[in-house]
Symmetry: D2
Subunit: 135 residues, 4 copies
């Protein structure tokens, strides 16, 4: 059991019929993706061809911030607001899709950090979409 799942299990009030497994997975993926995107932005800065990677750095920075905020919003259940949850998840899907696309291109060109990061973005995007479907 992940720590996000452990925190959900100990929540003292009603979780309103949320799909706990999909929720825990999505929280975990948001934090993992925030870390990977932060690290990928920095790895791009240390590449010789950094000048060709500036759009990737920017996508990484946006995606890190949005995933971080989404992971935080999903970690809160008091006074649940479905409209806000949906809007944040949709922004996160958009960020992960954009960043995943850019990183996947660089991954195919041999940049391993972009490949690892693209995989994280895809997983996070999928987890967000699956959670939206349960709202």
């Amino acid at each position: 059991m992940t720590h996000a799942a452990a925190m959900l299990e100990t929540y003292p009030a009603d979780l309103g019929g949320a799909d706990l497994q999909k929720l825990a997975t999505c929280i975990q993926e948001c934090f993992s993706c925030a870390q990977s995107c932060t690290a990928c932005a920095d790895a791009c800065l240390s590449e010789e061809q950094v000048a060709e990677l500036t759009k990737c750095v920017r996508s990484n920075l946006d995606c890190a911030d949005i995933c971080d905020t989404t992971g935080r919003v999903l970690s809160r259940h008091t006074g649940y607001d479905a409209n806000l949850t949906r809007a944040v998840l949709e922004a996160c899907v958009q960020a992960c899709k954009s960043c995943g696309d850019v990183c996947a291109q660089h991954g195919e060109m041999g940049m391993q950090h972009c490949q690892v990061c693209a995989d994280e973005c895809r997983r996070c995007e999928t987890a967000c979409r699956e959670l939206i479907a349960t709202l």
Copy 2:
């Protein structure tokens, strides 16, 4: 001139026809609202009737995180992505509206920090809506 406007003026590349005044205002409001919501959450914790304010605290925390992320995304212009900007601004509108509504109710009941915070949320929501209209 605010510091956000000063940073926009020194940006070394093309800003692609962005409405610089609306953009600078929106960036500034996002960071102001993030601060106000962080402080309002804490002020609620120090109220005797904190048990009646827990939904307000939660709204404040979400709004602070989303405004912070929105202010960051809007501060970046390299590799501009209109779809991502719009999705983030829409989440921010939703967060500011929800938090502004909750805080306005408490403001009418005499909680001054909620009144100040509600005013910040309204200004930030308006700035986001006006920026969306220019995209």
Copy 3:
């Protein structure tokens, strides 16, 4: 291998003799602790005796922000600055110790989310101390 370790393995430049295992562990613990503290603050808000938990909520919120920032700083290696790394890690040790102490007390009184969160804070504090020792 965790995703933080995978990102370290693909870093394209010299990591300057860093202890990669301790670094990867510390990054991972920072993000885990940020999530647990965010969730614990919210769980406290949903407890009937929230009025007795306000200091815990505040400790959780500080610890979440500081762990998040520490995890981000540790995920960057370009232009490494040992003084900054040490100062941030020391703030993180302080935050995890304070929050861990408060949560451990509530854990002993039967609040399970505080017990899970206290354990995370202890692990993150230890990981930060062990990383400081290698700098």
Copy 4:
């Protein structure tokens, strides 16, 4: 009166003899510096000589995250913890000094965004030092 000062004025409990003017200034400078550093990192990415600015981008990103977290911690007063406040302010002084030094060098070489950002970093560093002196 700034919004940070307005929020301090409406805090419902005792602020324990804090120097409210220095506190409000420091909060404001932290959020301003976080914005400037976020924008400066992005402006560097759009410079033709980005390859020579990668250390600056990294300093900017660290400084943005640390200022943001410091501004949040300073916006909370419930369960005040002087040791934590001091540790966070010291990390912020270090981040602002490092980033201010790097940006000032580039400012002298004609990069205006770095000059604006260096000035923000100096103001924030000063505000943090002055607040530490009152603790």
